[in-house]
């Protein structure tokens, strides 16, 4: 039997997490709400309260209404939430022990049979809950213990249970009930949700009432914040930030998110089939220029945002002279018109981006200029259907945005996008050494081992250069004086947390 909680490294992580959780919860008794009620403005809103429908589970968690058994912490680690521990058994199944004294918003204790009922229903109804390890089956062993079996064996069940598809809920004759710090009072689909503190969540008396209002347009969101109608404006467009300069009552805080910006390099494209050319392109891009163009973000260090424990050490090199030397070595000589040639062929590439992520379109001229200096002629294209173009392989370079660790584990991204023959290996890259590393990562249990393997995989990606990791973007959150101490983190996965609206 593999006892996860007894392993030193995991135990250390769990202990750290428990201390963090305690630190988060403990001050609640000595703190107070900053206001009786606050209003949050954001561009997305749960369309209903059934977490098994579509992506509603994600929305309910980010609103502070629902919780999973595990979650991703501020430091990018998977930590217990409604669960207290998880142990893998010799037969591959897992035993999950529930945390003490957790309740649904009507006071019903969170028990193993209720958790099993809700998560089994989700697994049956929502295909997304079957994405990572097939169908999970939950069985109550006793009031506080669950046995979880998966169709496909997995060493990372806590990470899977931290995915957005697995909030715990209590089915009732009416709307489901949840365990989060806030309980739904009323919901107007597409418009607003009125919430009150969950009376059965520790520290309820210190929390304010919260209204979440959906404002789909970023400019309007900024103006709603400027008008004082909302206390928190989540993800303000960069061009609106100057409105709040010198405003004592309102501030804007900026935080890095896990949606990495990157550029695929099609290894099946004739010019890019040579790894020297791909490495040259990676070396020729000044990531600081991209950050300046987007007016937000930090240079990427690898596949993951720097906050994750498995992020690569940075910075990534920028060396145009070395890049030029690599192209010379690859046989691409500078032509009279400033474009390199080889065997009568000019070094011309097509760079794609998509408007759904405007920053990527902003990057196109910056990348084109950098590669022009290197002697590579780049034409730019924009598509509304990035997945179609990427999957077709009809591209040379493709600017891309991707959340690379949505459930706090590096395995999904590294295997899905880079393993030989994987469905989203858009670069068409293949490396036996890399595949072996991912196979090892797939079965590794110890978190330290997983971190080491993930970093090793990133080194192999850097060597093979099927992709150039560019920028970790940042988002901007407007805060009224009532919420001045609020620290956003976790991209858009945990906007409203237990410490929301409470003075520290």
């Amino acid at each position: 039997m593999t006892l996860i909680s007894s392993r030193p490294n995991l135990r250390k992580h769990l202990l750290t997490s428990a201390v963090c959780a305690a630190a988060l919860m403990a001050p609640l008794t000595a703190t107070k709400a900053l206001a009786d009620s606050v209003t949050v403005g954001q561009t997305f809103l749960a369309s209903g309260l059934d977490p098994a429908e579509g992506s509603t589970g994600w929305a309910l968690v980010t609103h502070g209404i629902a919780e999973q058994l595990f979650r991703v912490s501020h430091d990018g680690e998977v930590v217990p939430n409604l669960a207290s521990s998880a142990e893998q058994q010799d037969d591959g199944s897992w035993m999950v022990t529930l945390a003490d004294n957790r309740f649904f918003s009507d006071g019903t204790p969170v028990t193993a049979d209720l958790v099993a009922a809700s998560l089994n229903r989700t697994g049956e109804v929502n295909a997304s809950a079957r994405a990572t390890a097939g169908r999970l089956t939950f069985e109550a062993v006793d009031a506080a213990t669950l046995r979880v079996t998966s169709e496909q064996p997995t060493p990372i069940l806590p990470s899977i249970l931290a995915e957005w598809a697995f909030p715990v809920y209590l089915e009732t004759d009416g709307d489901p009930l949840f365990t989060g710090p806030f309980a739904v009072e009323t919901i107007e689909a597409g418009s607003s949700i009125e919430m009150v503190p969950n009376a059965f969540y520790e520290g309820a008396e210190q929390r304010p009432d919260v209204t979440i209002r959906r404002i789909a347009d970023g400019q309007s969101l900024a103006l709603a914040f400027a008008s004082g109608e909302i206390d928190l404006a989540f993800n303000l467009p960069i061009e609106t930030l100057s409105i709040f300069d010198g405003n004592d009552d309102q501030s804007v805080t900026t935080f890095p998110v896990a949606y990495q910006y990157m550029m695929w390099m099609n290894t099946q494209s004739p010019a890019l089939s040579n790894v020297l050319v791909r490495r040259a392109i990676d070396l020729a891009i000044n990531r600081d220029d991209l950050v300046a163009a987007a007016r937000a973000g930090v240079p990427a260090t690898g596949a993951f945002a720097a906050a994750y424990p498995f992020a690569a050490e940075g910075p990534l090199p920028y060396d145009p002279a070395a890049a030029a030397a690599l192209l010379d070595d690859a046989g691409w000589a500078m032509g009279a018109d400033g474009v390199r040639e080889k065997d009568g062929e000019r070094l011309e590439l097509v760079l794609w981006a998509y408007p759904q992520r405007p920053d990527l379109v902003t990057f196109q001229p910056v990348v084109r200029a950098a590669l022009a200096d290197l002697g590579i002629a780049v034409t730019t294209q924009v598509t509304e259907s990035p997945s179609d173009v990427a999957a077709s392989g009809e591209f040379d370079l493709f600017l891309w945005a991707q959340h690379t660790a949505p459930a706090g584990d590096p395995g999904l991204f590294l295997s899905l996008f880079f393993e030989t023959g994987s469905s989203r290996n858009y670069a068409g890259w293949s490396s036996d050494e890399y595949d072996a590393t991912i196979a090892e990562l797939r079965t590794a249990i110890d978190p330290e081992d997983r971190i080491a393997l993930a970093q090793q995989a990133q080194e192999l990606i850097a060597e093979g250069a099927p992709v150039s990791f560019l920028v970790t973007p940042e988002w901007h959150v407007g805060l009224s004086s009532d919420l001045a101490g609020y620290e956003p983190w976790g991209s858009d996965y945990y906007v409203i947390r237990p410490d929301f609206g409470i003075s520290q």
Binding site: G54, R214, D217, S220, S227, S423
Partner: protein, 309 residues
């Protein structure tokens, strides 16, 4: 006449929804792919197949259209790909907001535009005439989105006279209705003015004046029918603007109407939402056009006799 009205409406609507059904599916981007990318899950073949089956995309287009059509008439408009919620309930809840903005906007435009047009015709070159022309030029030249943002900035952010996001329904509808009306007042007033100006030069008005009627009263009594006929003929294109203007107003002012939801649905290739929206908009425009024709024929029976619309 009633049978022909219903028949024409139904045939036109069916043609519109059939073409749109095809066009929506021709837009590049597979909904399953878009959804999986959006929610960051592993795109296995089994998962993709499961979603295609669940969303009915594994069936032929003909079968999909037949099922959708049956569902539309039985008020089962399918399930949103993005949210998993029932489309019928979601769109009907939003329909009230959109109808309030659209109908409210056109009603205000008709009220103000008609008055402005009448007074512009009563005194060509006067203040009302200048105002009417200014509205018409502004309606053509200004971008609706920018006007909405400026109104928001001035009235809500700078002076804080109104709470368009957090206020009650009336407060939330004030600016959206104003925006839709603003861009229709000009065209309404010019159409009304043209009708009354035609009457102003007619011999029967001179006869009425000779009988001692005050000029404005005579113009109103003898010109209103002609102005109404002209307005009904000319206002038809504005029915499409009402839809577009309502969409802009909903997005700028954060109103949870139909169009505001559709923007998101386009990004997600959410076919059930898009299809139901197109069906409702087509119904609105076709019924609007048919009613305009009907009213014109009621006001001017000669049109019925000659078969003109």
């Amino acid at each position: 006449m009633a049978t022909r009205f219903v028949g024409m409406t139904l045939v036109s609507w069916l043609a519109a929804v059939a073409v749109s059904f095809l066009l929506i599916r021709l837009v590049p981007g597979d909904p399953v792919d878009v959804f999986i990318n959006h929610v960051n899950i592993r795109a296995t073949d089994e998962l993709i197949a499961a979603y295609r089956e669940q969303w009915g995309l594994d069936r032929s287009l003909f079968v999909q259209f037949g099922l959708w059509l049956r569902g539309f008439f039985t008020l089962d408009w399918g399930t949103s790909f993005a949210t998993g919620g029932a489309v019928t309930g979601e769109l009907i809840a939003r329909l009230g907001w959109s109808a309030a903005i659209g109908v409210g906007g056109i009603a205000v435009a008709l009220l103000i535009g008609s008055a402005l047009g009448f007074f512009a015709a009563a005194k060509p070159g006067g203040l009302a005439d200048i105002g009417s022309r200014a509205f018409a030029v502004a309606g053509q030249a200004l971008p609706a989105f920018a006007v909405g943002v400026v109104a928001l900035w001035v009235l809500a952010a700078e002076f804080r006279w109104i709470q368009p996001f957090a206020g009650g329904p009336v407060e939330r509808l004030f600016l959206p209705i104003g925006l839709v009306a603003f861009f229709s007042i000009g065209s309404v007033s010019r159409l009304v003015r043209a009708g009354f100006i035609e009457t102003a030069g007619a011999p029967y008005l001179r006869t009425a004046l000779a009988k001692g009627l005050p000029y404005r009263l005579a113009l109103w009594r003898h010109g209103r029918q002609r102005a109404a006929i002209g307005l009904l003929a000319g206002i038809a294109p504005d029915l499409a603007w009402i839809v577009g203007g309502t969409a802009v107003a909903e997005i700028v002012f954060g109103v949870p109407g139909l169009s505001e939801r559709v923007i998101e649905a386009v990004a997600h290739r959410d076919y059930p939402i898009l299809q139901a929206y197109v069906a409702l908009v087509a119904l609105w425009i076709i019924i609007g056009l048919q009613l305009c024709t009907l009213f014109r024929r009621m006001l001017d029976p000669r049109l019925e006799a000659t078969g003109q619309a």
